[in-house]
């Protein structure tokens, strides 16, 4: 067992906030910030929605001593209900006094400061600045997918990722298929050549769509009109600056598997999409369907579809064709000369991804999923969106180097939102052939 420890100077929180920059400089100099097996790890949760709470639950279910010590969210009620749910399940491991519950757009900085490991689970638009801050403060990180909503965000994440490696920080990204036994065994076989060279790929996330928080209901609950920023933050799925469209928020899982099979990312894409059915006042600006063809460096292509429309053909899966057979990747099944079928087993991948991260932290083994999976798969999904929004062929290099920045310059409940409704309450929606996306 490695007994090397990084001793955090004994400062009060107030001192700490005053001296963050000094401390960050100090953290940059030490080779490793990690915990021995018996050290109590302090965890902070940033983004206390259903998924953030779930991730905290899984973190608190890993082996070894640890405590949830701080929480941050923009909405006090979400934070409180998350706290109550976690406290109920992990009474001994949740130790978040009132003063460590931070509410507001700057909550993340304060919560991160108190922890050894941080969980970043806000809407994806905030991921780049939150990841940057966590790396700056020298913390181990679990962050949910996707990790950005545009090329500028991805570049920030990649730059911070280099910093994280220098500081020996462990970074996990919530693409749990990488921790799912069926996928791991299937990918092992594909990479061992079970179906020869992979020449064609296809993947889908076609389903009925997700939750909507109508403005009217939100205002009734609040008993007052919401500011535009409040509304968009509540109903975040439907705004590109927060969500990146559903191709980014959900379909990333399938595109990520294809990248994993190909051990790389696409070099260009073209496609089509729009909104046919889901186009009410509370459906913001995102499309309800995208169909994209991605080309990889070896010339092979992936046909991808994602749709949020009820009563249509539903399917969430990945399939690849090789020179010597077929593989239903999501079904963990190979047909052809090397026919094979996964025999089952394995742990809940959402739990496994936390087990793996915390084991790496405690044993100080290299662990960084940012670049390979997180950032590149996010960028793949964004590339797809740029192709459908513009109707044009878009290359990877154009997309990742685009100076476009979706985030508002100022954050606050009265701050200006990147997109605003017209008099009728509708938001501008991308028009293929007209909309500029780079």
């Amino acid at each position: 067992m490695n007994t090397r420890k990084f001793v955090v100077p004994d400062l009060t929180r107030r001192d700490f906030l005053k001296t963050t920059s000094t401390l960050a400089a100090a953290a940059a100099l030490v080779p490793g910030v990690f915990a021995a097996n018996d050290e109590t790890l302090k965890v902070a949760l940033i983004g206390c929605g259903g998924r953030g709470s779930g991730a905290a639950d899984q973190a608190l279910s890993t082996a070894g001593p640890l405590k949830l010590v701080a929480m941050g969210d923009v909405f006090k009620d979400r934070l409180e209900s998350s706290y109550n749910n976690l406290k109920e399940r992990h009474a001994d491991r949740v130790d978040v006094p009132e003063e460590n519950k931070f509410v507001g757009f700057d909550a993340y900085q304060k919560a991160i400061a108190l922890a050894d490991v941080v969980i970043l689970a806000t809407p994806p638009g905030f991921r780049p600045p939150h990841f940057e801050e966590a790396v700056r403060q020298g913390k181990h990180i679990f962050m949910e997918k996707p990790v950005a909503v545009d090329g500028t965000g991805v570049r920030k994440v990649l730059a911070a990722c280099e910093e994280a490696k220098k500081k020996n920080l462990k970074v996990a990204v919530g693409l749990q298929r990488h921790h799912q036994k069926g996928y791991l065994e299937t990918l092992q076989r594909l990479h061992d050549g079970a179906i020869g060279d992979v020449v064609a790929m296809r993947c889908y996330w076609n389903d009925a769509g997700v939750w909507v928080h109508p403005r009217k209901e939100l205002e009734q609950q609040a008993g007052r009109p919401l500011t535009e920023m409040e509304y968009q933050m509540h109903n975040w799925y439907y705004f590109v600056w927060l969500c990146g469209d559903h191709i980014n928020e959900q379909h990333i899982h399938n595109l990520d598997v294809i990248n994993w099979v190909k051990k790389g990312h696409p070099v260009r894409a073209w496609g089509m999409g729009g909104r046919e059915v889901r186009k009410g006042l509370d459906h913001g600006e995102i499309f309800d369907h995208h169909a994209v063809e991605f080309e990889y460096a070896d010339g092979s292509r992936c046909s991808s579809q994602c749709r949020h429309i009820p009563n249509c053909w539903s399917n969430v899966s990945e399939h690849v064709q090789g020179t010597k057979g077929l593989c239903d990747v999501s079904g963990h099944r190979i047909t052809g000369p090397n026919a094979w079928r996964f025999s089952g087993g394995g742990k809940d991948p959402y739990q496994q991804e936390h087990d793996d991260l915390f084991a790496a932290i405690r044993n100080d083994t290299p662990y960084n999923e940012t670049a390979e999976y997180g950032a590149y798969s996010t960028m793949t999904a964004i590339l797809g969106r740029l192709a459908t929004y513009s109707g044009k062929e878009i290359t990877w290099d154009e997309a990742i180097n685009s100076p476009l920045d979706s985030m508002p310059k100022v954050l606050g409940w009265d701050a200006e939102t990147p997109t605003k409704p017209n008099a009728e309450g509708r938001y501008p929606v991308a028009i293929p052939g007209v909309t500029k996306v780079l």
Binding site: G50, A208, Q220, R224, P225, V316
Partner: protein, 577 residues
């Protein structure tokens, strides 16, 4: 009783004044109107959520937080004119008929003020609109007993600070408690008595909670002191769930549905039962119900049966009343009407459709949207719905009952086995030899690793399809491997009512299973693993991420039960994990 300690009162600064007076001066109502105790709470609860410094700009540029702002006219608008209520918007806009475009508060935001409240404002302005110097108003939530207070008492010790604030606010707002809501008094053993000068929870507070509302002035006083002293709740003292609270609302809905069912039910006796096909009102989707006659059968399997499990015995005689059972498992076509209320498109009524208004169906809670694609790519149109919790099935039954005027529910385990056996006594309803299973069922040997469309194999002797295989079928019963052991003589309509969320019994086996799991007597209990991969906390009460083998079918007993019994059937599960 100890004296109320005024200095300790202000937990929230905003509440301090109104709390003191509401608690201490319950009887003061005489003229003149006192702003701080009588008008301020009305304005704070009804107006300040919009007319505050942060939101005034988009709300008529009007703030009501300070005297200076509240009295300041804006262009021609006179907000408060001392002595002249009819020229003061703060009075006359609230007194407009509700629904008037200019009515305050806006009708879509909040309910209108009560008559006494508008009258209080009128009187205050008429008397000169005195507003004590320096007194400021803030937005105050209006507490609701069922929503805010009942859960605090149900949850019990320890009371979090936030809940103490809510209790405080509720007391300050008059501590309204709807009649009929009570908390069963607990058995208290060894709870330490409160120190001198303190309210004793067990002696003083529990009787108030057990008595229920409306509260007397003395009861309000006691509760007020208890909250002030820290709302201490001795560990280990637990109240039962409230009687008549949130549950009462559900019950009221069930009673409405019950009345509708009684009015609509034509078949009163078994002899009148026929197979029928019904169209779900407002859609083109149909389902078919097959009569299952009343009778007696031997439940469980003999010790000699191949692959028998211990929980299938001892065999015992069971009597069953007549019911209809759905011919096939509930399909996605049916289930998605319930899952996606916003998207289900109303179709013109078709001939033979029962002519129901579905106002009660609309009042039934509907599932949240799933995050995962719940058919897992195995197909929707004509395929069995899967991956739903037992709670979701019960709610589906309630919804369909409200929609159609027939009483539907899940079968008990005994009803299921009776219908499956259809008078037979062998391991499968066609005999003991699994070699013929492929003619009747989809299972591991022929399913191609997925479920198949319903109704494509041969039915059982009573005309029910896919009773074995394809998808497992939810029952009402809690799974207990020893449940049969208690039955020494003939038992009528047994139902092992659930007391915990897991396990519940599913029956019939599925596309994943080998032949032995498809035997009529074979039982399986649900487990928390069935939603293992739900990444959210709390996990969904509607969906199972890891049970692609579970579906259900509905039954309709010919004898319509009472509203209380309906409530029990539709709330048979334990909703939360």
């Amino acid at each position: 009783m100890p004296a109320l300690n005024m200095r300790s009162l202000p937990r929230c600064a905003a509440l301090a004044l109104s709390s003191v007076t509401a608690l201490a001066a319950v009887s003061v109502t005489a003229n003149p109107v006192d702003f701080a105790t009588e008008v301020k709470p009305i304005l704070e609860m009804n107006c300040l959520s919009c007319h505050n410094p942060q939101h005034a700009e988009e709300n008529g540029k009007y703030r009501l937080d300070t005297k200076e702002e509240a009295f300041k006219p804006h262009k021609k608008d006179q907000r408060i004119v001392p002595g002249k209520p009819d020229e003061s918007q703060v009075y006359f806009l609230t007194a407009l008929p509700p629904g008037d475009e200019a009515h305050m508060p806006p009708t879509k935001m909040k309910p209108p003020l009560a008559k006494e409240e508008t009258e209080k404002i009128r009187q205050w302005i008429a008397e000169g609109a005195a507003w004590p110097a320096g007194l400021t108003l803030t937005n105050v939530m209006k507490t609701d007993f069922v929503r805010d207070i009942e859960p605090i008492f149900e949850r019990g010790a320890p009371i979090p600070d936030k809940a103490k604030d809510t209790l405080h606010l509720w007391l300050a707002q008059g501590a309204s408690w709807p009649a009929g809501v009570t908390f069963p008094a607990p058995k208290v053993e060894g709870a330490a008595a409160a120190a001198a000068g303190q309210v004793d929870f067990v002696k003083d507070v529990v009787p108030i909670l057990a008595q229920g509302g409306p509260l007397s002035a003395a009861a309000k006083q006691t509760l007020g002191q208890w909250v002030e002293q820290g709302a201490n709740w001795p560990a280990g003292v637990k109240l039962g769930p409230a009687k008549g609270g949130a549950q009462a609302k559900d019950m009221a809905l069930v009673e409405e549905i019950y009345r509708q069912i009684i009015a609509a039910t034509k078949e009163k006796a078994e002899a009148e039962m026929k197979a029928y096909t019904n169209t779900i009102p407002g859609t083109a989707v149909t389902y078919t119900m097959i009569p299952v006659p009343s009778g007696q059968f031997v439940m469980g399997s003999p010790a000699t049966e191949a692959h028998r499990n211990e929980d299938e015995g001892p065999q015992h005689e069971v009597k069953i009343e007549a019911f209809w059972m759905e011919q096939c498992s509930v399909t996605w076509n049916e289930y998605e009407l319930f899952m996606y209320p916003d998207e289900s498109k109303p179709a013109p009524p078709t001939a033979g459709t029962t002519n129901y208004t579905s106002q009660y169906a609309d009042a039934v809670t509907r599932p949240s949207k799933p995050y995962v694609e719940m058919s897992f790519g195995m197909g929707k149109d004509g395929y069995p719905a899967i991956s739903m919790t037992q709670h979701a099935c019960n709610t589906y039954c309630q919804w369909l009952s409200a929609k159609t005027g027939h009483f539907y529910r899940l079968p008990t385990e005994a009803e299921w086995e009776y219908a499956c056996r259809a008078g037979t006594t062998t391991a499968y309803f066609f005999g003991d030899d699994p070699a013929k299973l492929g003619e009747y069922a989809w299972y591991a040997d022929n399913s191609d690793f997925k479920y198949q469309k319903v109704g494509k194999k041969k039915p059982n002797p009573w005309g029910l399809y896919d009773m074995l295989g394809n998808v497992d079928q939810w029952t009402l019963d809690q799974y207990d491997p020893n449940y049969y052991k208690q039955f020494k003589e003939i038992v009528t309509e047994p139902w092992n009512k659930a007391t915990k969320p897991y396990p519940h019994t599913v029956r019939g086996g599925s596309w994943q299973d080998d032949a032995d799991k498809l035997r009529a007597a074979c039982r399986r209990g649900s487990s928390l693993d069935w939603k293992m991969q739900d990444p959210q906390l709390p996990k969904s009460i509607w969906y199972l991420t890891d049970a692609q083998f579970v579906g259900f079918r509905i039954i309709r007993p010919v004898k319509v039960p009472s509203a209380e019994e309906m409530y029990k059937y539709w709330h048979s599960g334990v909703e939360k994990d």
